[in-house]
Subunit: 319 residues, 2 copies
Amino acid sequence: MTRILCVLPTDEDQRRQLQAAAPNASLSFSEKAEFSQAELQEASVVLGNVSPGILKQMPNLAFIQLNSAGTDGYLVPGVLKDHVILCNATGSYGLAIGEYLTAMALTLVKKLPLYRDQQFEGAWTDQGTVGSVYGSNTLVLGLGDIGTEFATRMAALGSHVRGIKRTPGGSVPGVEAIGTFDDLDAWLPWADFVGMALPDTPQTRNVMNRDRIFSMKKSAILLNAGRGTAVDTDALTDALKTGAIGAAGLDVTAPEPLPPDHPLWQCRNCFITPHVSGGLHLRQTHERMVALFCRNLQAYFSNGEMESVVDRSTGYRKS
Amino acid sequence: MTRILCVLPTDEDQRRQLQAAAPNASLSFSEKAEFSQAELQEASVVLGNVSPGILKQMPNLAFIQLNSAGTDGYLVPGVLKDHVILCNATGSYGLAIGEYLTAMALTLVKKLPLYRDQQFEGAWTDQGTVGSVYGSNTLVLGLGDIGTEFATRMAALGSHVRGIKRTPGGSVPGVEAIGTFDDLDAWLPWADFVGMALPDTPQTRNVMNRDRIFSMKKSAILLNAGRGTAVDTDALTDALKTGAIGAAGLDVTAPEPLPPDHPLWQCRNCFITPHVSGGLHLRQTHERMVALFCRNLQAYFSNGEMESVVDRSTGYRKS
């Protein structure tokens, strides 16, 4: 009998759904990955992000379904044998993180953080003029599920949206132009909002370097909910402190967690959240993830087509 | 020669536009309404919200164009003679305040204020689960320009939207049902977001009374960018403190300004801004307003049809 180990938090109903998708398998659930040696030896399927150290104790592993979109850590040579199928959870996070990026864009353009900062003093103090999303220009870096959900929301709110992706071509509703990273330098000075939803790959690391950050509009707002490594943190701090850009909203940082004494925390035109836009913070994310896990389990056992299979050479799903 | 007094802040280009709309009139500009006795005696047109005390010194006043949507103060008997044409600036604020309400809805549902409160301590601390606008229910009170702009934005972001207005009928793109205040009690428990954009009239005062506030969902978010008098402030404070509702986002309060020692300032699930969603905080508001003033000046001098003429018996524009 196939043994499946699941570390994704689940309620009773979700366990029932997973069992129904793999009726002939034996499922073990442990959010903290506290499995017996026998379970680790025997199991051929893992659901959820167990640590690479545990994976090395699993000689029979054939399929691992991550609950993250990013695959950082699992692509390191030696962690997964070549034949192991690796799937990520692309598609589960688009709603949650796309809404988060939209919330950050609106929050910052309306200066709401500055009003929050004075609230507990009871200060009825005007913080001056604001901008709008309507009529603005938005540049989205990364047009996967998350970038697409952000792009369509900004377009729906009346922003002119352009997107940049790894490979040329394609179309996204509401996005007026799609380019590649070759267009980035030309398009950055055009943008009022730059929304980043990039995974961590050799190609995306430091893509927003000092020159590019300083090429943005003085009023521009930089948003990042992909990976912190895509932004030069020191250059961003300098840009925010000197007013070279307007504001930043970050759910990811490099390093992460951001050390408590890092100067970025104290920049009033920076708004930092501790990598919470995704995860299981939104009920619909959890629902979409369990539904994906069920579909992939069924496909795995019936030799059907699996979703979000990761191309290990790029870290992206095979398209 | 007709004399026009203008208290709206204007730049040189906007003054040129206004002069071109009334080529045979003499325009006097003073943001602080520092006009000579002769100017007050002679002028028949006022652009912008001068104080009622000044209006009483203007025997020849025939037309006053307000820069506010609300007409509070100008409808008090004795302020304006019966024949004076009163126009408000309905239509100028929809974009600014509709976006503000959308920003507040997203900010609060994503718990962003709680993250801001811990930022300056450098705290990388998770604040738990969040909600979404997508798939939620939104009830909009007041479907004028502001309420309509908010409603269409929430609908565009995937919320199910219902609206309540003074008079039955009509339709707004994206709004699934439109009712009157007779529907309020039945619809309040349905809503995840309640967005208020009501003027101050005898009918709207205290419309969100204690019973209605406490009939909302425990997770519901109340937003008010109309007039503070429409909400029972003490009841709202109690509801927020006891968790009877989820959160509130307020740009208007009663009393206003909210006294520094008012307990509402200290409610972490309340987000207060000091009546800044409108005004001239957004460039487009200023542009729309000057354009409206120009159209109404041209109409006034050519006996054409003026816009946003206020029905003094209701405080609303004549439809």
